[in-house]
């Protein structure tokens, strides 16, 4: 016979996968192996039909691409199957509880996906005449209104593409305001950042040219106000505080901190990634902050999409508003318009432009649909339920795990690894064991301020039934820890498409792309 299975000889994985039995191609019932696109390449096949490009002189200036590019070729059926199979190797919110602390993995309403695909939005070019995009501009303006209302802030910059980009926007606005006040480059060189902060905070301060000065957390998991106050001087440009913070706690001293930082002439950046815990119940503007980014992909539920895209609008105080970056939407007697150039910005002194065009419109539409669906009443309920769910999980687990701090938490609850002490089981092992049980693990080893952190954020879109299941699973795992089954933990996960992967090898000799010459891991065997 001439039927040679390429997959058998080349691209299929080894024949004895985890948690299964030996099969010819490595498939395990509905759990299917899938090679790389480049390994199913079939030159001459195609997933599109196009009219033949008409013959005739080209005007490429002699720079036609002639050599083979190396792209793989396959028909639509093969491509659909390839990506369907890949998708089945993922965990997702649509499959189960995704208690990844700090990430707000809440349900992504399907209506929002439908709205963003309306041809009246999907087919809009960003540089159409303003008269032809009045609906789009109105949507941005209305969303901006909601953001300002909910945060109690007077202005908002809509263009940042994600939380970190929003941080960039906010810290740049701070710097621009300082420069403006000082009539030249500011002499202030430091930004204060708590040690519990998300990595983007210090990274952002750094890319804005500031030195990062870490402030410690106190025993309650909050900013140590005394330590903070001691650091304050005329060299301080501002402070970046996450509230609720990454320990899942409300920073009770926000108002005091705001007063103190303002007293020395610095500005107050609030990381609003955790806004979900307080939306509709607390207006950050009432705390005295100067700016805050809002991850629309967290609080307002635009899907995470395996890593992005997101959107990070930044609300601004009156002090910072004049420095907001271009572009922005204006509303006048002739309808909506865009300010795209500093020259058209009137009294404003925009610090620049952060990205191409006007912002993450697709996320704006989804977030706006989400807001309309919930309304002011529903959004307040979102915060209440998010906090209730987190406290319920904490209360149901506190007798067997070790909560990092006392008192109620906000939208997420933090445990440390004291309960694993001397068990031979690490936070990592514990998390990997969750995977076999059908769960995405909690966030591990973050925040850095507690040992072996496990940060659990259920979100408000988990039902009590799902929480009870989750709790039962965690408790059963703790019981296994107590029973001394550390080997089983070390071996987890066993039931997944792949077991623990060798990250050290990956980093030591990075293979970041497929190449025809370099043998793949299997072929090398």
């Amino acid at each position: 016979m001439s039927g040679h299975s390429k997959d058998l000889s080349r691209s299929a994985p080894g024949p004895t996968p985890a948690g299964g039995v030996e099969t010819v191609l490595g498939h395990q019932g509905l759990r299917l192996e899938e090679p790389l696109l480049f390994e199913i390449d079939n030159p001459g096949a195609a997933g599109v039909d196009l009219p033949a490009p008409p013959a005739g002189a080209n005007r490429l200036g002699g720079l036609e691409r002639t050599a083979a590019i190396g792209l793989p070729s396959a028909s639509e059926p093969e491509i659909v199957r390839h990506f369907t199979r890949l998708s089945q190797k993922n965990y997702a919110i649509d499959m189960g509880t995704y208690p990844l602390g700090s990430c707000t993995m809440k349900h992504n309403p399907r209506l929002n996906e439908k709205m963003v695909r309306l041809p009246g939005f999907a087919n809009l070019h960003p540089l159409q005449p303003e008269s032809t995009v009045q609906g789009a501009l109105e949507l941005i303006d209305t969303l901006a209104h909601w953001l300002k209302e909910l945060t109690g802030m007077p202005a908002v910059a809509m263009s940042p593409a994600a939380g970190a980009h929003g941080e960039l926007c906010g810290v740049m606005a701070i710097r621009a305001a300082l420069d403006d006040r000082e009539g030249g480059p500011t002499t202030r060189r430091r930004i204060l950042v708590p040690d519990s902060a998300h990595g983007t905070n210090p990274a952002t301060a750094a890319v804005c040219g500031f030195a990062v000065d870490a402030i410690p957390s106190d025993a309650r998991g909050r900013v140590d106000v005394k330590a903070f106050a001691e650091k304050l001087d005329e060299d301080v440009a501002g402070i970046m505080i996450t509230n609720p913070n990454t320990c899942g706690l409300f920073e009770n001293d926000m108002i005091e901190i705001a007063r103190l930082i303002h007293d020395v002439g610095g500005y107050f950046y609030c990381d609003g990634a955790n806004f979900n815990a307080i939306v509709g119940r607390v207006r950050p503007g009432d705390l005295g902050i100067d700016c805050m980014h809002i991850n629309l992909h967290k609080t307002f539920s635009t899907p995470h999409g395996g890593g992005g895209p997101g959107a990070g609008p930044v609300v601004l105080s009156d002090a910072l508003a004049p420095f907001a970056p271009t572009p922005w939407v204006v509303h006048g007697p002739d309808g909506y318009g865009l300010v795209e150039h500093a020259a058209d910005a009137g009294d404003s002194r925009p610090f620049g432009r952060l990205k191409g065009f006007h912002g993450q419109m697709g996320m704006f539409i989804r977030a706006y649909a989400y807001m309309l669906s919930h309304g002011r009443d529903g959004l307040r309920q979102v915060a209440s339920d998010a906090v209730l769910n987190a406290n319920y999980v904490m209360s149901e687990l506190s007798d067997v795990m070790t909560a990092a701090f006392d008192g109620p938490c906000m939208h997420e609850c933090l445990f440390d690894d004291r309960f694993l002490k001397d068990s031979g089981v690490t936070t990592l092992d514990f998390a990997k064991a969750m995977i076999d049980e059908g769960y995405h693990p909690m966030t591990m080893y973050f925040p850095l301020v507690v040992h072996g952190a496990m940060l659990i954020e259920p979100t408000e879109t988990e039902s009590k039934r799902e929480l009870d299941n989750f709790i039962a699973v965690v408790r059963a795992l703790v019981a296994r820890v107590q029973a001394g089954e550390s080997d089983a933990f070390a071996a987890a996960p066993r039931l997944t498409p792949r077991r623990r992967l060798d990250e050290t090898a990956a980093a030591r000799r990075p293979v970041l792309r497929w190449t025809p010459d370099i043998p793949t891991a299997e072929a090398a065997e």
Binding site: R59, H107, L150, A161, D286
Partner: protein
Amino acid sequence: MRYLPLTENDRSEMLSAIGVGSVDDLFVDVPAAARFDGAFELSDHMAEYEVEAKIGAMAARNVTTADGPSFLGAGAYRHHVPAAVDHLVQRGEFLTSYTPYQPEISQGTLQALFEFQTMVALITGMEVANASMYDGATSCAEAVLMAQRVTRRSKAILSGGLHPHYREATETQSRYLDIAIDAHAPDLDGAEELSGAIDEDTACVVVQNPDVFGHVRDLAPLAEACHAAGALLVVAVTEAVSLGAIHPPGEMGADIVVAEGQSLGNAQGFGGPYVGLFAAREKYVRHMPGRLAGETVDEDGRRGWVLTLSTREQHIRREKATSNICTNSGLCALAFTIHLALLGEGGFRDLALLNHARAVELATRLDAVAGVEVLPQAFFNEFAVRLDGAAQDAVDTLAARGILAGVPAARLFGRDVGLDDILLVAVSELTGASDMDALCDGLAEVLA
């Protein structure tokens, strides 16, 4: 409420399990002064069909590029995206998963990213690529920062053919980082000579190809000049489809290639989300911003993928990270990958050549219209034309007739900088002969 599973009954059961009387008791840490119980100037929750009606009405107040002849480009393009792309990216397993930090249950996303990186490297002619940036403009800004890290030099030369949004984003991000930006004047003729500006402080030269006015140029001489001076050549591409027809930047000597990937897989969507491509020579990989998927093996020795070289990134390296980026454009990168996979080698080339052929046809026809002068000799699917009159006026007049005629250069560069009579006109595989008729006739009338 339809997205909130807890019932009143659940809530009271849970509160008593916790041992508090009300949810307010869980908010004890919020100072009284910070609790808001006032009224927001916002509406109450709505039925799904009410939301649909409201947002649908907003959508209906727009005229779209599918409603009539449309020639808009300048960094965002109207291409046909096969239906399979959207079908696949909407699968919940892709749509509703997080960054693949748990590789055992994220192999789908990781393998797709590895495929994306490979494709980006192939089409740009580079060695490695990352797992995406926000968009082309931010990729460009990050490239300049990376060049500074690689060369430890502080000057960046920006071509006058660079898209103004890319230039501005780069200027903005460089502002506080001791990077001197040497931005050249708009290069309408595509004749700009930047070699002379390179000196021993120069970290990089940034050029766009095809440039914002449509000129396609051979970058090899510039690459040589850069390398001779120890500087990097950064090439920006705003129309990814052009890479199917034009000699790739990597083969002309680019050290970093940044591009806007929207054209493949992603809707115009009024400007975002898009997907920034970022490719570089392998030797610079540890200076790159953004995430990287890499190949490895699992405990059983089977091939698999992980996020790797994370010590460049903010979540490990904090203030010493190569960039502050965290969330990127994952799903847009997936859409890009699926579209390019459907196209394949032949389809990608054909698509590019089809785009080019349409542009050649339109250029020929526009050149014959009195008052219109096509500027570039060599171009891909877009070119600047000089009008006998203000481009903005022509665009407005034609818009009123249902024709989206293109992007006035002044929209990008600002008014009164000498470009008011310049219009950027783009076509694609979707541009038909009747669309071209409409534009030519329309311009002839307007300029008559």
